[in-house]
Amino acid sequence: MKVERVSTGVSGLDTLMEGGIPKGFTVLIAGNPGTGKTVLTSHFLYDGLTKNQNGIYVSFSEADYSFYNNTSRFGMRFKDFQKQNKFSFLDFSGITQQGVQDALEEVLATIKEINAKRIVIDSFSAILQAFVNLNEARIALHVVLGKMLRAQGVTTLVIGEVPMGTNNIGSGFEEFVADGIIKLEHGIDNASPFIVKVIKMRTTIIDREPHVSIIKEQGMVVLPKQPIELHSNNTFTRVQTGIEGLDERIGGGLLEGTISTVIGDSGVGKTTFALKFIIQGIINGEAGLYLTFEETYEELKRAPGMAQYDLDNFNGNGLIVLARLIENHSPDEIIEELEKQIIKTRPKRIVIDSLSSFEHVYKDEMYMITKRVVSLIKKYRLTAILINQNNPFSESNQPTIAKVSSLFHNIIILRYFEFKYKMKRSMVVLKMRASYHDNSILEFVISGDGLKIIGPMNDYEGSLSDIKQVFYHESPKSEDQITSQSQQAKRKKILQELDRDETQRGNREIMERKQKKNLGIDHKHNVRNKNKNHVT
């Protein structure tokens, strides 16, 4: 038998319970103060009014003018329906506990009078006060709400107040009397956005996962979660990264539709890498979406290596930049916006700068957030770079990155290392699924031209280790032996000598070139000879 369902009127909430609340049910809406209980229940009543299902709001805590003011902000014109005798606000806010039984009588009379099909009782806690013992309350409520209202086909939402700092739904029995329970909670650190959970709904298959709810101009919206699905990508088409010296080391570029993570410390060049990748796409005629949580568009324009490009020329011409503050948006909200943008702008490349921004606020949910992001990207077959930041003061990768690394096709690590009292940068392609890649540790620089690979670091070792200090192989002593202060000083001296030799050699070459020029010797011939000598 098909169950007739009543919409909650809240966008995104009905889908969590097979399309709505079964008609005639009594559902407990439990939540801490300020989590949107009144807004949710107002949506429920207003949705009914727009479908010719009259409604009643029974309030033991809020005066009518306050209700009308608050709901009119969301465009709900309850007063218009009240004038048409389709809606009644029963303001019982001044009533003490002895009056509650009369109030219930009044409610039943009003239901009959206006032929109401939806009721909200705000709140259960107030009704409970009327009864000396809980068993009496249970029987009364079971009869009034569970039988009388259901018999008349009236669907009822009862608000349950959950005090701050507690996690109980009610006094211990309303959760059993109610046919369904929807719980509202504050978000992380008691901040917005809120969390909605459908805990119970008889005769209904429910989505028990916590969902994010936000209150916007139109009222409450429950955000859907990006479904986690398997998507396969069998293309062998290559996508140029735009990083000079990288593509030829990874088989011509990233495989189209793959997801890469670029991991590195702050300032090592992740953003420059990602911007280069997006710009290269635009140059090749592929739109690119850049989602940043840390910089504005103006700041991106001034990123190292971006001076040669005028991002304004690309912006709107293939480049889409979304700058958002993670503290103001939930991951589900961002993923939803991202999908809308993807559908609207049809990009081929996407960058999220950075995925680890989520970690600051949603540390425990990182795996699922990453999985949803990855699923979305795969769904639209985008080639993606997801930036992950190392903690600059941590000696090793953050554990979260290790947990989610299996979700990426490619992993590229950028690191600093110390050499001769200077910081240098290294890059290693750690993983590249279904593709050849050079295993060398590459040295790269960031200059006015952007990020450029110099070449493999054959003469160094340890640049990927936690010590981040490298030595020449030609070092006169084994590294293990260099421990004492005198040995350190000796090493320093050797390095200085090497530097001096290099400078002297450079000066000598310049002198020789000048002399040969003066003698009128052919320049090409000169270079050939020089190279020959060098090889010898």
């Binding site: 001044g94 009533i95 009369d102």
Partner: protein, 120 residues
């Protein structure tokens, strides 16, 4: 003889009115108990200031009580009115329909009329 009958009728009417007013006054007092002292005082003060009579004496002007209740507790007045009607119906042994909406002014007037006619 006619004069005597008239006097007897007037006396009975007077008794009935007294009976009704006593029942009404008692019902109002009981009904108002659920409001608590502070709110009750607001209602009483409103009636005394605006109409110059006491709350118990509103049987001939139930609108005054209804107005004062609305001033004090807005929509909650419906509970007090219902409660007073219920209590008064019981005292006067008049049938009370709990599933019907209350029209306080009309129902009080109807009950008064009924008492005047039926109680002997």
């Amino acid at each position: 003889m006619i004069h005597k009958i008239n006097n007897k009728n007037q006396s009975r009417e007077f008794t009935n009115i007294k009976f009704f007013e006593k029942a009404y006054s008692s019902s109002v007092k009981e009904g108002m108990l659920i409001l608590g002292e502070d709110v009750s005082k607001i209602v009483q003060d409103y009636i005394e200031e605006k109409y110059s009579f006491q709350i118990e004496n509103t049987s001939q002007n139930p609108r005054a009580l209804s107005e004062a209740l609305h001033f004090a507790i807005d929509g909650g007045k419906r509970i007090i009115e219902r409660r007073i009607i219920r209590l008064l119906s019981k005292k006067l042994d008049i049938e009370y329909h709990s599933t019907e909406l209350i029209n306080f002014e009309k129902q009080i007037k109807d009950m008064r009329e009924k008492v005047l006619k039926t109680h002997k």
